[in-house]
């Protein structure tokens, strides 16, 4: 009864529900920075791939174990099959699964373990060469657009050389290909690659080198992470395209190469142009050339025609006729003016004639007066003559000579 009494003393607010407790644990575990994005090493046990595509397994070491889940989106990009007993490295964060009240590792990346040392070497060499500038953009040689000869460095057998030749030839059927049979795996591979790069540089006439190899583990691809290979590629005068491993595998050779292709067929695409596309382009340019020239000539012709259409070219005599007409006009005008002038003058003459008639001495004589002259000069005063002088007297008809008898001065 005492116990019951104690319990009844606990205030209701101090009692937690399972959900609240779990939420609290979840919040704390999932926000702890030491439990987010952590690398964990362990051995796989109880591995189940659920039909949903999620992978559930347990990671353990000698003394402990932890539940793990890798969701489909991350699992699908995995390049190996996780199996019971396999030692792996995972990148993961702690998550709490509320329904079952357990904590587990939510895995985002999974790698087979045991490559730690190689990976370390890779990172060290990468850093060293990067510092030296072997990867820097300014050292990248330009891949020529229209190479005549491609040098291939790879194994003379297998899918890579076949893919490369088929794709190069399909894009550009007359491309020349020179193959340097090369070891691309194993202890002698690195020096074999170096020899091939040097060989192509020595013989000359190679426009682009493709360095190729199929996919494989980090160990398989290791020769492409060797320093001598990196330096040989860097020293090469010929632009190099690397096509090593799968799309997601990067090797040191990829960083040093002037261009990295994710697959051999992509390398072929980068190395040579598509001949048919080029022929189409040339045809298209030719067509434009033809059309535009035709249009230009047509346009100029049209301008010429429109100029020739002007009246001056169409009826050139119009121009002269106009002047002729003007001359005619002027002529007739001047004729009229002359006639008018003459008319006017004639009238003047008539008036003068009338005037003249009025002062004509004959007219005076007609009226019965007579004119007295002395030695042909008209006598106006009696004093002009002296007694006995001879004077002539003119009449309308005839004249007489007489002698002065008497002079009376008036």
């Amino acid at each position: 009864m005492e116990i019951n009494l104690n319990i009844s003393n606990v205030p209701e607010s101090k009692i937690l529900s399972i959900s609240k407790l779990t939420d609290y644990i979840k919040l704390h575990l999932e926000s702890d920075k030491n439990l987010i994005n952590i690398w964990v090493r362990g051995e796989i046990s109880n591995c189940t791939l659920h039909s949903s595509g999620h992978l559930y397994f347990t990671l353990k070491d000698e003394t402990s174990q932890i539940s793990c889940a890798m969701f489909r989106s991350n699992f699908s990009s995995l390049k190996f099959e996780p199996k019971q007993g396999m030692k792996i490295l995972v990148l993961s964060s702690i998550g709490v699964y509320k329904l079952r009240g357990n904590y587990q590792l939510i895995v985002s990346e999974m790698h087979p373990d045991g490559l730690g040392i190689l990976h370390q070497k890779f990172l060290q060499l990468k850093e060293k060469l990067e510092k030296e500038g072997l990867f820097s953009q300014e050292h990248k040689k330009v891949i020529p657009k229209f190479p005549k000869t491609i040098g291939i460095i790879t194994s003379p057998t297998g899918a890579v050389i076949r893919d490369l030749i088929i794709n190069l030839t399909r894009r550009f059927p007359n491309i020349n290909i020179k193959i340097a049979p090369t070891l691309v795996q194993g202890a002698d591979a690195a020096s074999s690659i170096v020899k091939s790069v040097e060989l192509f540089n020595k013989i000359g006439g190679i426009d682009v080198i493709i360095l190729g190899r199929g996919g494989g583990s980090l160990e398989d691809l290791w020769c492409f992470n060797e320093e001598i290979v990196a330096r040989a590629i860097f020293k090469s005068k010929i632009p190099t395209i690397s096509a090593v491993g799968h799309e997601t595998d990067f090797t040191i050779a990829d960083f040093v190469a002037d261009c990295r292709a994710p697959t051999p067929s992509t390398a072929a695409e980068i190395a040579v142009p598509d001949k048919n596309a080029l022929l189409r382009e040339i045809e298209h340019l030719r067509e434009r050339l033809l059309q535009k020239t035709k249009r230009t000539v047509e346009f100029k012709k049209q301008r010429l025609m429109s100029l020739l259409d002007r009246p001056i070219f169409k009826r050139p005599l119009d121009f002269i006729n106009q002047y002729l007409q003007q001359i005619d006009d002027l002529m007739s005008n001047s004729c009229k003016a002359t006639q008018n002038f003459l008319k006017l003058k004639r009238k003047d003459l008539e008036i003068l004639t009338v005037k003249l008639n009025t002062i004509n001495p004959n007219a005076v004589l007609k009226r019965g007066y007579s004119i007295t002259l002395k030695k042909g000069r008209i006598i106006k005063n009696a004093s002009d003559v002296k007694i006995d002088e001879i004077i002539e007297i003119m009449f309308q008809k005839g004249e007489i000579k007489s002698q002065v008898k008497e002079v009376k001065n008036g």
């Binding site: 076949r162 013989i203 230009t296």
Partner: protein
Amino acid sequence: MVDKKSFEENLNELGESVKSIERGELPLKETIEKFEEGLKLSKLCVEELENAKQRIEKLTQKNGKIICEPFEVKE
């Protein structure tokens, strides 16, 4: 020997000819000249693409000598 221009140079020049005619500012005489030059270039380009013969060869070194031999693609 006349300095032969590369395919790339010829193709570029062809493009330039087309562009300069398309601008439509050239006198007739030069238009015709560019046109003729363009036709010649397009012919050169096509010839270059068609004429080359493909060779696939394998290089091997023996005693410091480089040996060149035809390479067969195995299906």
